[in-house]
């Protein structure tokens, strides 16, 4: 049997750090990168006698995300203790949600190669994150490890998909889409390097047209799109080869090794985890008023998918352009503001995606907000190109100057005298001069050498320090050349 006889079945569990100021159950800050163990308190460190208190904003953010992916919010939901021993877990249980999660039964639409697919979301729930372990070397051989509890207690939203994904590419598309949604909603900053968004994947293979699922393998802690892609590709290959060889797939947890580009089995446990879930006695259950959920629903911004569609339909952008512009709310807002001031969406999109993104240090909201050229500024520049004041080529120079100085286009053009020369009389005189200076080139042109025309255009441009209106130059040459 060959690998093509197998169907790949993938489910993703995405953990997203909620963008609240404080932790899930205590008032410690959640900022990334603080000195070790300086953002902790008796609660998040699990000291004897400490008790959790729910951060209201985490519930609000969770509901926002749940509604955005079409989930049903469970007005009655509660927290539960999930028990296992690990040094990054201060209490040796994690406060999570089990039988009554915040939300269930939603979906995410992905687009791949022009085709749309709906991926089911099983559930969305809230939980606290664990601390960070630093190993002396690698986990497998470390003789000791060190624990930093700053991250312990940071609020997490866990989104579990149904096993509807059928390829590594789909998994990446799903992750991208989900990331864009949570970033758009402002509930997560989507920063995968800092671990704001992590995912675990469950992968299994089954013979085509077979209904039951094969044995699934869990791949943990994939924290970049590339890792997700490569790890899943590797795992699909590995399982395929194993099945072909008649081996049984072991249900286990594996880690992706980005150095050696393979998944590695985590030391197999003597027994599977028995989490011994029970409802968290220190936290009264939630019984949310329907009105509060309605209020949140009413306040949802236009979601990336809808915005992307609108950019394509109303503004005539390609899906690719729309997709790039909608990666972040800041960038999409910038685009729309610029288009409002200068209603030529294709040109605006072009300038943003090529010139602006090249200059900016990043495409996230922070970078956009700090951009020295406001949307109106870009619009102003494009207006000058449209009305012939400057050429497209000149505009690029002006753009760079605008970026560096924060000045608007018109001031720069005026001060540096960059306005195009578009006066037929003035240009006509220059064209005459150039023609007079290059009789051999005229002969070449008469002889049919097309490059001769380009040369003459170039000379006119040089003579005018690039300020000649190219269209006019071409017209004048076209008129005058035959008459020489």
């Amino acid at each position: 049997m060959s690998a093509a006889d197998y169907e790949t079945v993938i489910g993703l569990e995405v953990h997203a750090h909620l963008l609240t100021r404080t932790k899930m159950f205590c008032g410690c800050a959640t900022t990334f990168g603080a000195a070790p163990n300086t953002q902790t308190c008796p609660v998040c460190q699990g000291m004897p006698g400490s008790l959790p208190v729910i951060n209201r904003r985490t519930v609000e953010f969770g509901i926002r995300a749940a509604l955005a992916i079409g989930c049903r919010v469970n007005l009655q939901n509660r927290f539960a203790r999930k028990h296992y021993y690990y040094p990054d877990m201060p209490k040796n249980y994690q406060i999570s949600q089990y039988e009554e999660p915040l939300a269930e039964h939603g979906s995410v639409e992905i687009e791949l190669g022009g085709e749309r697919r709906t991926i089911g979301v099983e559930r969305l729930h809230l939980e606290e994150d664990v601390g960070k372990l630093l190993h002396e070397g690698e986990l497998a051989t470390a003789r000791s490890s060190q624990v930093d509890y700053n991250r312990a207690g940071v609020p997490l939203m866990e989104i579990v998909s149904r096993p509807d994904l059928r390829s590594p590419e789909e998994a990446v598309a799903y992750l991208r889409t989900l990331r864009a949604i949570v970033v758009f909603l402002g509930v997560c900053d989507g920063n995968m390097e800092e671990g704001s968004l992590r995912c675990d994947a469950n992968v299994s293979l089954r013979k085509r047209a077979v209904a039951i699922l094969g044995t699934k393998v869990e791949i943990k802690n994939l924290n970049s799109f590339r890792h997700v892609q490569h790890a899943l590709e590797y795992e699909v290959r590995r399982q395929g080869q194993a099945l072909d060889a008649g081996e049984r797939i072991v249900q286990e947890t594996r880690l992706w090794d980005p150095e050696r580009l393979r998944t590695v089995s985590m030391r197999s446990k003597e027994f599977a985890h028995d989490y011994r879930y029970f409802p968290e006695p220190d936290l009264p259950p939630l019984d949310l008023p329907a009105a509060s959920v309605d209020e949140i629903r009413a306040g949802l911004p236009e979601l990336p998918a809808a915005r992307r569609r609108r950019f394509v339909e109303a503004h005539g952008l390609t899906p690719y352009e729309a997709d790039l512009l909608c990666q972040g709310r800041g960038l999409a807002d910038y685009f729309e503001a610029a288009v409002r001031a200068h209603p030529k969406p294709k040109a605006v999109a072009n300038w943003i995606l090529n010139e602006l993104l090249r200059e900016l240090p990043g495409d996230d909201d922070k970078a956009i907000a700090a951009c020295p050229i406001p949307p109106a500024g870009l619009a102003g520049l494009l207006a000058l190109v449209d009305d012939g004041t400057i050429s497209g080529k000149m505009a690029k120079d002006v753009f760079e100057k605008m970026y560096r100085t924060g000045e608007d286009a018109r001031s720069i053009v005026t001060r540096e005298g960059l306005a195009q020369v578009a006066d037929a009389g003035e240009l006509g005189a220059v064209v005459d001069q150039v023609l007079a200076a290059h009789p051999q080139v005229i002969e070449d042109w008469r002889g049919g050498k097309k490059a001769a025309l380009g040369f003459l255009v170039g000379q006119v441009m040089k003579s005018t320090q690039g300020k000649a209106n190219p269209a006019l130059v071409n017209r004048l040459l076209g008129e005058k050349l035959p008459k020489v």
Binding site: C28, R57, A142, S144, P284
Partner: protein, 99 residues
Amino acid sequence: MSEPRISREDVQHVARLARLELSAEDLVRMQAELSNILAYIDKLRSVDTAGVPPTSHAVPLTNVMREDEPRPSLPLADMLANAPDAAGDFFRVPRIVEE
């Protein structure tokens, strides 16, 4: 001890789950004691609880939450003061993955 209510294997399994290192003697004694207690507790089986919801909170309360306002964290020195093995600013633990 009459028919033990909990097997030796179960006692070992539970001890592992509970991270309690029990000697062979401890295991025997624990099995006997737990068996006794479980025999007493077995009287719960005769109670008809069909349709009765479990109590997880003694007094009914819902929606207790706090605002997303920061409170000062404790100083590093306070947090490490009780550490059995502190290494600089961290808590140190012995090897995690068994040899």
